[in-house]
Point group: C3
Chain length 139, copies 3
């Protein structure tokens, strides 16, 4: 069994934003030399998500509006977590909806994906350095 | 280490519907010969989910109404993704709530489940061929 | 390849409550002797969650209020699942939001976590014996 570990680092230049990390994960799979196995990709911060959906900017705007409806940023005082200096309670909730992690099969050295599957990192509390983990096991 | 891969195909005869795939996954575990390991089951389409809950038709109707409340299908124009010919933005959001994938332990050649756990495929944009992936690793 | 299995048992003394299980999972990793791999932690009951976020009691109260807004317990009659004697339809929905499982990387014999990541068991239908599964694979 082989294992491989890599971190991806981000500094999103606004409160919320997403990045397509599919190529970076595929690159890590190639670096690992693993042909058959599983790759875990997870946010290492608790106000960010890793999720799988498609590249379509209209849909990404829909996610933004929908998450803001389900877990609004404002008013800050609606959340107990925002007592004191915190202003990111909504980011914890939005990340919960979108999920912490994706587990993807590796087959013949490639991410074993349907036609439209892409992996995204989604930050809900950006403007600082944050990271995601890629861990691959297989052979 | 052994790995095993299998696809399940579906053509749900309405916009939304779910299928119990527990037996199909257990069958794949037996075919793999793997006694100890993990099985990943994921939707390969981005408007479908794989999730774990129980067989109870009342609850399944509750899921349907609840998802429709959190991410309504209509009016289509509320979503930017539906500009043009698309009508399935809500399906992307509903799938996000229900999740893309389940990871299940395999112990002694069986899905290592609590009493009520069952695996379901849930399509939110049916009436066409779609698929899910089973990937098993272990020994 | 090594695999290791352990159950954690809970009896939450109220309808809803959460428990930090990070230490218990780390202990299982040590017991397994596995240095590199993956650990799956999942609820074995379908009205409970395993999820990753941070230790902060204000945030935990926010989760409680937010889940109650998205999937209210009352009135019971709003859910078809509650026909008959059941009163826990909301618990199935809340668990869906929070998720069934977490998959965590193991690196150098430790949970490979960001600074604030902690694993929680969250029961939405407590006051009885329930369990979670830890399954570890690696070497």
């Amino acid at each position: 069994m082989i294992t491989y570990r890599k971190e991806l680092w981000f500094n999103i230049n606004k409160r919320r934003g997403l990045v397509n990390i599919t190529e970076a994960v595929q690159e890590a799979v190639v670096e690992s030399g693993i042909k058959e196995g599983l790759v875990l990709v997870n946010a290492m911060n608790i106000t960010s998500s890793v999720f799988i959906n498609t590249i379509e900017s209209g849909l990404h705007e829909d996610f933004e509006q929908w998450l803001e409806r389900l877990a609004p940023e404002l008013p800050y005082e609606q959340y107990k977590h925002n007592k004191g200096d915190e202003r990111n309670a909504d980011a914890h909730l939005k990340r919960t909806i979108m999920g912490r992690e994706a587990v993807v099969a590796i087959t013949a050295g490639r991410l074993d994906f349907g036609s439209w599957e892409q992996i995204f990192y989604y930050d809900f509390d950006g403007m600082r350095n944050k990271h995601a983990l890629i861990k691959i096991i297989g052979e």
